[in-house]
Structure formats: C-alpha cells, structure tokens
C-alpha cells in the first residue's frame, strides 16, 4: 500500500472561454480509500471541478494529480491512463449508458483500455456482480428501472478498476429503497470515492469527510458531522438539512 494521495489538486483555477470564471484556486487532497462528499450550492463549480479530474477540462492554472500522476490535457497517452483511473458516474444514467445492452456498456471502458476476449467478459461480469446487476447483462438499458440504470452506470466505471470513483448526485431521483441499495453498494466498494451531492443525510451516512465548494473555492474541509452541525456555515453556502433531520 503506497501513501500517494488518490487525488491532489493545487491552486486550480479555471475560466470558461466566455470569460466566466468558475474556479478560483481550489486546493484539495484526498487519500487512498477515503470517501469524501463534495458539497456546494448550484453553480458553485462542482461539475467543473469534477471534469478537471479526468482532463475533460484542460488545466489552465494550478495542477491536478491522480495517484501522483499529473493530469495533462495535451498528452493524449497519459490522458487515457488518467481516464482509466478516474471513474465518473454522471447524474443521468441515460447519458452514461449508450450501448445497446448493459453488458456491452460495461465493456465499453475496459475495451478502450485494450482489454479483449475472455478477460473482457470476466471484468464485465465482475463489475456487474459488484452492483448486483449480473442477471441484466444482456438486457437493453431502457428496460431497467431508474435505480437499476444508476447501478449499471456505477458498474460501467467500476469495470475500469478506477483509483477514484466520482459520483455526481448519486441519490438524485432514486426512490428510498434504491437509495439505500446504492448506499450498500458504495459501502461495499474498496475504492476512493468523491461524491458530489446536495443530499446531506446521504453524505453523512456514507462519507466520513466533507468539503464545501462555494464561489469557486473550498470554503470548508472537515468531518461531515462537524460540517453538518455548523448551521451558520451551511446557511452561508445555501446548504440545508432536511426539515426535522437532526444529527444524532
């Protein structure tokens, strides 16, 4: 086990081509095996930050390292390796599941990494088993429920054996049972996880540590419990616990 952090972001700043600046110097280090909730109001720059982690947005200023390796948007070869290490689960599973069947979709990532044949089948089956969706391997995605599709979306990136799993709003649009099933899956995974969410109870349930991104910088970085019990901090960044929810 090495001690290189899974994710290391230093002084990351980014402005969109139209001049709209989204990130103003983000510093964030996440160690191997940690589960961290990335909280923040709409428009705080969460998605922009996530898309820097695998080099979809080229780094303009500052640096991003995944397991010690620099994310360099211009270097096609390392970029491919980086994308294998950072698994992003997007919010809408229909955006993520674009292949005709569940199995083929899960195979898409490993295939791009150069895995073929029996090995590919094995990786696909393993990833689907991890999310409890193996029996749906040959089904088309539109026949699945929303919660099932989200689980398959998680499998599509697990199949790439990522160093770090980034989930964008994992609990959105899920019914309570699906929400809990997904939580069980997340807990069972042995991988570093960054969870972008507004669902504060979910963050508390699954993540020991939370950071708040607001106005393009990290304004808080502490244990989830400490952050959620600081009502002033939450209110200042448009975050609220559900009515009636108390930290026990």
């Amino acid at each position: 086990m090495n001690n290189v952090p899974s994710l290391q972001i230093k002084e990351l700043a980014f402005a969109y081509p139209d001049g709209n600046q989204a990130l103003f110097g983000v510093n964030l280090t996440i160690n191997k095996g940690e589960r961290v909730a990335l909280l923040g109001p709409n428009g705080a720059g969460k998605t922009t930050l996530v898309l820097h982690m695998n080099g979809i947005h080229p780094t303009m200023q500052g640096e991003v390292r995944i397991a010690g390796e620099l994310v360099d948007g211009k270097n096609k070869e390392t970029l491919k390796q980086i994308r294998a290490k950072v698994g992003i689960v997007f919010q809408d599973p229909d955006d993520q599941l674009f292949m005709p069947t569940v199995g083929e979709d899960v195979a898409f990532g490993p295939y791009n990494m150069g895995i073929r044949g029996e090995e590919l089948q094995r990786v696909v089956d393993e990833a689907l088993t991890q999310v409890g969706m193996l029996e749906f391997r040959d089904r088309p995605p539109h026949h699945l429920s929303f919660g099932q599709r989200r689980r398959v979306a998680v499998a599509t990136v697990l199949a790439m054996k990522p160093e770090i799993l980034v989930m964008d709003e994992p609990s959105s649009n899920l019914d309570p049972a699906s929400r809990r099933e997904l939580a069980d899956i997340v807990r069972s995974l042995d991988v570093t996880i960054v969870m972008v969410t507004h669902d504060l109870p979910y963050a508390l349930e699954l993540c020991e540590r939370s950071v708040i991104l607001s106005g393009g910088i990290i304004v808080a970085d502490s244990s989830t419990r400490a952050i959620l019990s600081n009502a002033e901090l939450l209110a200042a960044h448009r975050l609220e616990l559900p009515v009636g929810f108390t930290l026990s």
Partner: protein
C-alpha cells in the same frame, strides 16, 4: 432456421434475392410465382406465421399507391377490361413495381422478424458498412425510446396547462416544442459524448463479434437467392 444464421449472411441473402427478382422482367410471370413460393417456404422454415408475415408487409401500401394508379394514366397502346380503359405500358410498369416491391418487402420482413435490430446492425458492421453509419444507427436505436419518452412528457406538460392542438393556429406551439426537443437531444448528445470521453473513447466502439460462420450457414443463406436465380434463368430458357 433463419433465426440461427449470422445476420450478415441473412442481409446478403435478402439483397441477392431482391437483386434477382428486380432483374427478372415482369413478363416472365411464372418466375415470380416461384419467387413468392420460395419466400413462403423460407417463412415456413423460419416458423413465421404467414398471417404475421403479410400483416407486416402491409407497410408497403403507401409506397405502391402510385404504382396502382399507373395503368390509368399514360400513353401508347390501350385496351379495355370490364369497361375500364387501361394503358398496356402503365399496367406492366405498375404490376412490376407492385410485384417486385411486395417480394422485396416480404424478404425484408422475414429478415426483420428473425433478426433483432441490434443483430442487423452487427451484420452491417461485418459487411463493412462505414463504422460511423453503424454507430449513428446504434445510437438512434438506443435513444429513440429516451427521446420519445421526453416528447411524451412535453406533450403531457402542455396538455396539463390546457393546450390541445386542434388546428393550424397551434402549429407555432408544436414547432416550439419540436425545437426545444431538438435542443435537449443535442445537449444530451454532448453529455453522452462527455461520458464516452471519460471512459477513454477514441473513435472505435467495441465489437463483440463472436459467432463463427460455417460452410453450412453459407449454404442455407444462399439457397434462397440461388434458387431464385435458377428459376429466373429456367423460365428465360424455356421461354414462358
């Protein structure tokens, strides 16, 4: 039986059969009866109920509509049947379109009944159709439901606010909805592309072709078009 064949062979067989049938002159009508019987036999061997076959073939009606009108309009030699004046040229051309069109549609229906859309795409891929075209078709297949659901939700949302399209004055609303749907689909396309890039997409979709083609497959697949060709030539030789 046709269910078991690799899809690219089936596509080839259908294309070959259609080629033979369109290149046989309509005046050699016994050949067409033979072609038709061949298709019926194929459908029987593939366990497709004939009723289903003909029901699905009804899709061609809008396309042959004008062919049916052809005998009534035209120039040249005329003759009368039951008091209706028909043009010989038009009648031949019209019959030719209807008969050959029907045979083509029936062959295509057998193909589509015994093959999933996904399999047909794989077949086209193996037949070296440009990858981009296969990819576009496969994305269409994947997202047609997603987008039609989206369209349905927009319709429900419109109607929930008291809008019911009745006439031309409502076209503007429909057009605006269509535009919104287009933008949404376009944005979805961008998000899908983003998700693809995030998983290392570099222009090639995985192909998971595993089925092997045996000589027997070829023989079964080509039997129909080859028999059709034999009949066509046979009736040419004996001059019916």
């Amino acid at each position: 039986m046709a269910h078991l064949l690799p899809s690219h062979l089936k596509i080839l067989a259908v294309l070959a059969f259609i080629s033979v049938s369109v290149s046989t002159p309509i005046t050699r009508w016994p050949a067409f009866i033979a072609f038709f019987l061949l298709l019926v036999a194929t459908a029987y061997a593939s366990k497709i109920p004939l009723l289903l076959l003909f029901k699905r073939a009804l899709i061609e009606i809008p396309f042959i509509f004008f062919a049916i009108l052809m005998p009534f309009f035209g120039t040249g030699e005329k003759f009368e049947i039951a008091g209706i004046e028909l043009y010989r040229e038009g009648l031949l051309a019209g019959t030719s379109i209807v008969v050959k069109g029907t045979l083509g549609v029936l062959a295509a229906v057998i193909l589509s009944t015994t093959t999933t859309a996904r399999e047909i795409l794989r077949g086209l891929e193996r037949l070296k159709l440009p990858a981009v075209m296969v990819q576009i078709a496969s994305f269409m297949l994947r997202y047609v439901n997603v987008i039609s659901d989206e369209m349905e939700r927009m319709k429900v949302a419109r109607e929930s606010r008291g809008f019911i399209a009745t006439g031309i004055k409502h076209w503007k609303v429909i057009a605006t909805s269509a535009a919104a749907l287009f933008i949404r689909s376009y944005e979805r396309g961008e998000r899908v592309h983003l998700a693809m890039l995030s998983r290392g997409f570099d222009g090639n979709l995985p192909t998971l072709v595993t089925d092997t083609v045996t000589k027997q497959h070829w023989i079964i697949a080509l039997s129909v078009p080859v028999l059709a060709l034999i009949f066509s030539l046979l009736f040419l030789v004996i001059g019916w």
